[in-house]
């Protein structure tokens, strides 16, 4: 085999040897180590504080449609981790996505090139008709996913990705479908300002950035969980607009 492939194989083997050492450690008594598959000990991890919703309070049990005014009233526990307990990391993730979208806009440099789009011929009849039927349904599905983000699997990122897929399909199938880039940037900036504004309002009135300043209500209702639905609204619009912008730039390059 060629020398370059052999060197790549040797580097991968060295890396594999180092990583697989993690599975051969014998812990001393009481030390935490890598668990065997399926035997994660939840009660020794911080996940038990998130599952019982008692990070800052003394709560012990959470019952669907009955527990009121908990510290994070969302029935979907992954949502309460992403958008309430660790929402600062979500702000960092939004920043990374914004950086990627801005970087693509700068690299592709579309205003000066002025080339023709690659999709200058008409798409087929099946594609056209199918996507005319699917476009509003996809928008509805994406909206449902982020509105019910605190009650069922889903949330802002997933809903935003589905909405961006709807716009991508429309751009592929229809040559005359145009979204102005200034409109996309307007939606994205407004959603980002909403997210940071919610955080600053929590800082000013309650003392912590992005603290949940609204009443959390009953676990399991649609209007519950404080500011989590608002955060997911901002995230869905921002992610949808950014992914649409990325796709539009890649199609027009």
């Amino acid at each position: 085999m060629k020398s370059r492939n052999l060197i790549a194989l040797l580097i991968t083997a060295a890396f594999a040897f180092i990583i697989l050492q993690a599975f051969t450690i014998n812990p001393a008594a009481g030390e935490i180590t890598l668990n065997k598959f399926g035997r994660a000990d939840i009660n020794n991890r911080t996940a038990s504080r998130y599952l019982n919703k008692n990070v800052n309070s003394e709560n012990e049990e959470v019952i669907f449609q009955e527990s009121k005014n908990l510290e994070s009233g969302s029935a979907n526990i992954v949502t309460s981790v992403v958008a309430n307990y660790r929402s600062f990391d979500t702000l960092g993730e939004i920043t990374v996505l914004f950086l990627a979208a801005a970087g693509i806009g700068v690299i592709l440099n579309l205003k000066k090139s002025g080339k023709k789009k690659f999709a200058d011929r008409d798409s087929s009849l099946i594609l056209n008709t199918g996507i005319k039927f699917l476009f509003p349904l996809l928008l509805l599905a994406g909206t449902y996913i982020f509105v019910y983000g605190h009650l069922s699997p889903g949330g802002g990122f997933q809903g935003g990705a589905v909405i961006a897929t709807a716009f991508l399909l429309k751009m592929i199938s229809d040559n005359k479908f145009e979204i102005k880039e200034s409109n996309i940037t307007l939606v994205e900036s407004a959603a980002g300002i909403l997210f940071v504004g919610l955080g600053l309002y929590g800082l000013v009135t309650r003392g912590a950035f992005l603290e949940n300043f609204m009443a959390t209500g009953t676990v399991g209702q649609l209007f519950s969980a404080g500011i989590i639905p608002l955060i997911y609204l901002a995230i869905a619009f921002k992610v949808g607009a950014e992914l649409t912008n990325i796709v539009k730039n890649l199609i027009e390059a």
Binding site: I7, I19, A75, P153, F157
Partner: protein, 121 residues
Amino acid sequence: MLNFLEEWSFFGGSILLIFIGLYGVLSRKNMIKILISLGLMDTGVNLLLVALGYVEAANAPILNSVIQSNANAFVDPIPQALVLTSIVIGTAVLALGLALVIKIYDKYSTLNISEIRGLKW
């Protein structure tokens, strides 16, 4: 044999994906193949993270009308929250990489990295 597969297939499969992706990034010459291998490494890492939080015979960490209180066994929700972020960042990296590949192809008219002047690998 079946016990061994049950116990190691999730960890082993994810780690195998990571190593296949690493080998692909190091040894392939087509730029699109390098990007695909990078995506494969991202997938392997995400699968490994989620597999580390699995509790046997437990439910997904969502309260609904069937699983009504947190006295039931739930899997660990924290690796799933980390993987949400990781998937989005993987998408952003791949999109930026594809934009760079488009510009390189416009300038050099080839996707083979050995033919681009100045590169010795």
